[in-house]
């Protein structure tokens, strides 16, 4: 049957429609059946609720007054209710009270209320309801209906639905039979036409379209297909020829491709051969590299953050490990094992920087060998690709011996520095010890110089003592400066001062000397150079005096240019250029070394050989530099630069008046001076200096005595030594300043201490000024003038200068008369700085030319060999 259905469209259509109807009807009837049963149950429940309500209401009095007959009469009235099988009243104890029918089998039956108030039992429908009066349970009503009631209902429903189902199937079949004809008939016609075309091969036969539906479009499609087949058949032969040509062409292309492939294959083979050869060469190269790595003396290791990739034999020898104990292990584990714990962090950080930042730096660190020995190595890292990763290749060299040598060198250096400092300390102490007696020498010589009663010879000796003393003092000061610089004890004391005035002041110092030579001193100050600056004026003065002094000393003619320029906002530079003999190139590097002098310098000027060394050190200390440029025969330029800070108005300028002070101006008198010093000769010197000028002096031998004297005498000026027994100058100054009358008194401290820091400390005590022993008389008098405001009467030295000038001229003339051999001997001795030989030669001249001898002796005494040499050379030229 199913076979028949599958073969026929007609049967398929009928079957589909019948099946659809069957399913739809079944679903409809099942749903209808379920709904009906549910409705019936709801209805039945409602009926039973209403029934039980009526019975309960009427049964309550019967129960209340124990009237069973009345109760049974009431229940009996339910007899006509459809399906009623049994109805019962039950008391609150669950015991039978009344029933219908009055069946003894049910009389003692206890109802199980837990089963619910409505349930279907086997063959029965049970319903239970509580009887309630005024909110109190009076008993229970139990109703039992026959189940047949429901069965009858279901049977009736089944009859109805079956009838509906049958009618539905019949209608559905009739409709299916009708509708299938509309579809299957045109298809059969199409089939017959198709068979006819296939039989006759006549594609001109066409289907006649009867409708616009899918069948109609099927007919159109069939006709178009027949047309297309006919057309295609007509063009088929042409297409065959065309395809044959294309096939031939494709065949030729294929042959060509085959040839190209063979060529490519050949090239590929060649490339494979080349690569094989290259690989062999690479292998050979790698082998060579391996041999090199294994035979080189330097240790090589390759590693990254994860593990040690490679170590060479030298590296293993260096550390005393087998290669297998290092390679392949985690880098951190091996690093902690072989790197000294104190160096581990540094090496690790460097490795990270190398890998991450590609920052490569040579490092020195320590390894711990397998036997515990610690060795110093120098490691040079490089970054290389290692597979797909980056790795560090480190070349490691044992530098233990080098390091030991370095340590020994460092120790030696420290020892030398220590010794040097000890030497400096010794020099400083020694200089202090020398300066103290020098005070007496210079002090008395200065006093004697002022004595008008001295014979010329005595004056000459005194001058000689004074000049020698000053020269010795300058020497000591230079040595002290040098030792302080080397000991690192020199300190800058910045003050505000007038830089222009300072320069003028220094140049004035050299007026006399340049007047003796054919030299012109020119100062050039750049416009933007500040006038007032904050810097250590004493040190700047010291350097400039040295530089200008050198220029004057080494020049016999020409111009000395002093150029002051601003290098930057805080850097000034002073260049001193001369047209002297110049400095040999090989000496340029050493002239700043202590005790180094050019040959010319040794021959000509004498000196300590410390001036430039000190100047260079001061320049360095002031944050600047000292540079020399020089050409032999043309001249030299020294450039001194230093840092400064802008300042307000400079301090009052000390007079550089070189005039001799004759006396205190009468308008300023009387001036009472308390001289405090524990050493009698020092007190006497000051006394001898001051009293002739009009000062009135009293004396104290220590601070305590000074305080008492001050209370009694109340002087205008105190000259206070600092280091004294009983009470020193510091304490005495403090006590005097604490007195009401002690505020105004001028206190000038005098000490042999050469230390700047001590000067600063003493100034903070409340003293007005500070004069260092041994002092020049004029310095002390100038300080007194500045702070007390007194005036002096002067003897101006200009007259003396003209005298000297005249004397120089006459000396020049006389010298020309001296025997040329003797002149040459004088010149040689002056160049050598040989004082004893000079004095011997002067003695020879003295008898014949006593004036000349006196003059020359003056020059020698003042170590002014330069003037002496110039004088002799000039007379030589004029003679020739």
């Amino acid at each position: 049957m199913f076979k028949r259905i599958r073969k026929s469209v007609k049967n398929k259509i009928i079957a589909i429609q019948l099946l659809t109807s069957l399913v739809m009807l079944s679903v409809f009837l099942v749903v209808y059946f379920v709904i009906e049963i549910k409705d019936y149950r709801t209805t039945l429940m409602s009926e039973l609720d209403a029934l039980s309500e009526v019975i309960s209401y009427n049964a309550v009095p019967a129960i209340a007054f124990n009237d069973r007959e009345e109760a049974e009469r009431l229940l009996r009235s339910m007899d006509q209710y459809e399906g009623m099988k049994y109805i019962q009243l039950i008391d609150t104890q669950g015991e039978h009270f009344a029933s219908f029918p009055a069946d003894d089998t049910n009389r003692h039956k206890r109802i199980n209320f837990d089963r619910g108030i409505f349930n279907f039992n086997q063959g029965e429908i049970n319903y239970t309801q509580a009887i309630i009066e005024n909110g109190e349970i009076m008993g229970y009503l139990f109703i039992q209906l026959e189940i047949d009631l429901i069965y009858r209902k279901l049977f009736n429903m089944f009859l109805v639905t079956s009838f509906v189902f049958l009618i539905g199937i019949i209608i559905s079949f009739l409709l299916a039979n009708y509708t299938q004809k509309a579809i299957s008939k045109p298809i059969m016609e199409l089939k017959e036409t198709f068979d006819h075309i296939m039989e006759t091969k006549d594609f001109s036969i066409k289907m006649t379209k009867r409708s616009d539906d899918e069948i109609g479009r099927l007919y159109e499609g069939f006709n178009e297909m027949a047309d297309a087949i006919e057309h295609y058949r007509n063009n088929l032969e042409g297409l065959v020829d065309e395809r044959t040509k294309e096939l031939k062409k494709s065949n030729e292309q294929l042959q060509e491709a085959t040839r190209a492939f063979e060529d490519m294959n050949f090239a590929l083979m060649n490339e494979i051969n080349d690569r094989t050869k290259a690989e062999a060469e690479l292998k050979e190269s790698e082998e060579k590299l391996r041999i090199i790595m294994q035979t080189m003396d330097e240790g090589v290791t390759v590693y990254n953050q994860k593990e040690i990739k490679y170590v060479n034999s030298a590296f293993c020898r260096l550390l005393g490990y087998e290669e297998s104990a290092l390679t392949g292990y985690p880098t951190e584990v091996i690093s902690r094992q072989i790197i000294h714990p104190d160096d581990y962090e540094n090496v690790n950080n460097a490795a990270e920087q190398c890998l991450v930042l590609e920052k490569l730096e040579r490092m020195e660190y320590r390894y711990v060998r397998s036997n515990g020995e610690i060795i110093w190595v120098s490691g040079i890292p490089a970054l290389i690709p290692w597979g797909n990763e980056k790795a560090i290749i480190a070349t490691v060299v044992d530098i233990t011996n080098h390091k030991k040598a370095q340590e020994e060198l460092q120790k030696a250096k420290e020892a030398a520095e220590s010794a040097n400092q000890a030497k400096s300390a010794f020099l400083a102490n020694m200089s202090h010890e020398i300066r103290t007696p020098m005070n007496a020498v210079l002090g008395y010589s200065q006093i004697l110089q002022r004595d008008e009663n001295l014979s010329e010879k005595q004056l000459q000796y005194i001058n000689s003592i004074n000049k020698s003393g000053e020269h010795l003092l300058a020497l000591i000061n230079d040595i002290l400066d040098m030792s302080k610089i080397e000991a690192g004890r020199i300190k800058l004391i910045p003050v505000s001062f007038d830089l222009y005035a300072l320069l003028d002041d220094i140049c004035e110092l050299f007026n006399l000397k340049i007047a003796e030579k054919d030299i012109d001193l020119q100062i050039h100050i750049q416009e933007n150079v500040p006038r007032n600056i904050l810097a250590d004026d004493g040190r700047i003065r010291q350097v400039l005096i040295n530089l200008i002094g050198n220029a004057v000393k080494f020049s016999s003619k020409g111009i000395i240019n002093i150029d002051l320029v601003l290098r930057s906002d805080s850097l000034l530079a002073v260049s001193v250029s001369d047209q002297g003999p110049g400095i040999p190139a090989e000496m340029l590097d050493v002239i700043f070394e202590p005790f180094e002098q050019t040959e010319k310098g040794i021959n000509t000027a004498g000196g300590t050989g410390l001036g430039l060394a000190i100047s260079k050190k001061i320049a360095d200390l002031m944050g600047g530099s000292m540079i020399v440029e020089s050409q032999l025969g043309i001249g030299s330029t020294f450039t001194f630069s230093f840092h400064y800070e802008p300042a307000g108005i400079g301090q009052p300028k000390r007079t550089t008046n070189e005039s001799r002070i004759l006396s205190v101006d009468s308008a300023s008198l009387p001036i009472n001076v308390l001289v405090v010093d524990d050493k009698s000769h020092n007190r006497n010197i000051i006394k001898e200096m001051l009293e002739p000028l009009g000062f009135t002096c009293k004396f104290a031998v220590n601070g305590k005595e000074a305080v008492e004297q001050f209370k009694e005498w109340n002087p205008q000026l105190i000259i206070m030594d600092i280091v004294m027994p009983v009470m020193d100058g510091r304490e005495a100054t403090r006590q005097i300043r604490n007195m009401p009358e002690g505020k105004k008194v001028v206190i000038i401290a005098v000490t042999a201490s050469a230390l700047d820091e001590e000067r600063a400390e003493i100034l903070t005590l409340g003293v007005n000024d500070f004069v260092r022993k041994p002092f020049k008389m004029n310095d002390l008098l100038e300080s007194i003038r500045l702070h007390t405001g007194i005036k002096y009467n002067y003897l101006h030295l200009k007259d003396k200068e003209s005298e000297i000038e005249k004397q120089t001229i006459s000396t020049d003339e006389i010298l020309r008369q001296v025997d040329s051999k003797l002149r040459n001997q004088l010149l040689r001795a002056a160049n050598l700085g040989d004082i004893s030989l000079l004095m011997q030669l002067i003695t020879e001249i003295r008898n014949q030319y006593p004036e000349l001898a006196v003059y020359l002796t003056k020059l020698v005494d003042s170590f002014d060999f330069e003037t002496l040499i110039n004088l002799i050379e000039e007379s030589e030229k004029q003679t020739s």
Partner: protein, 175 residues
């Protein structure tokens, strides 16, 4: 014996769950009558009660009903009112009385009480033969050992009380 069992069952029907104390006592016609007396209050309506807070039941005579009624009063209420039982042995009724029970021995006194409570309504119950004729409104009967009751509907209406038809329906006789 059958009667005794029936009475006991009746008593337990109503109070078995409520009072286990009485359950142990022997059921009697007094217990049943006391129960009926209380049940009458559910089917009779007082428009003018003796008190707004208490329902007064007065029992004349020997006091046989006193104990069961006292028990009922302890567990039940009439509407929202508590029950007060007044035993009157000196044959004089108190001023306030909603329900008066007159036993057979005191039936002759009934006439005196018919007009004794003019201020409020009183339901008078007796338990004697011809009790209705003697002025009672409800009278207990005993027919073949079964306790029943008869009602004088006219007397009840005259007193102004309203009685439920459901009570009338189960009465042995209504006049």
């Amino acid at each position: 014996m059958k009667t005794v069992v029936q009475l006991k069952l009746s008593f337990l029907l109503f109070f078995g769950l409520l009072n286990t104390g009485l359950k142990a006592q022997e059921a009697s016609s007094e217990n049943l009558m006391a129960t009926f007396i209380y049940n009458f209050t559910n089917y009779v309506e007082w428009d003018k009660p003796s008190s707004d807070s208490v329902f007064n039941i007065v029992i004349l005579g020997d006091g046989k009903l006193d104990k069961p009624l006292q028990y009922i009063a302890s567990i039940k209420m009439v509407g929202q009112k508590k029950i007060r039982i007044i035993q009157s042995e000196n044959q004089s009724a108190p001023d306030q009385c909603d329900l008066l029970f007159v036993p057979e021995a005191q039936i002759e006194l009934l006439e005196n009480y018919n007009s004794h409570f003019p201020e409020h309504q009183t339901l008078i119950i007796s338990a004697t033969e011809n009790g209705l004729e003697k002025g009672a409104m409800i009278n207990f009967t005993n027919l073949d050992g079964k306790i029943g009751f008869e009602i004088n509907h006219t007397a009840i209406r005259n007193q102004g009380l309203k009685v439920s038809s459901r009570l009338l329906k189960i009465a042995v006789k209504v006049i």
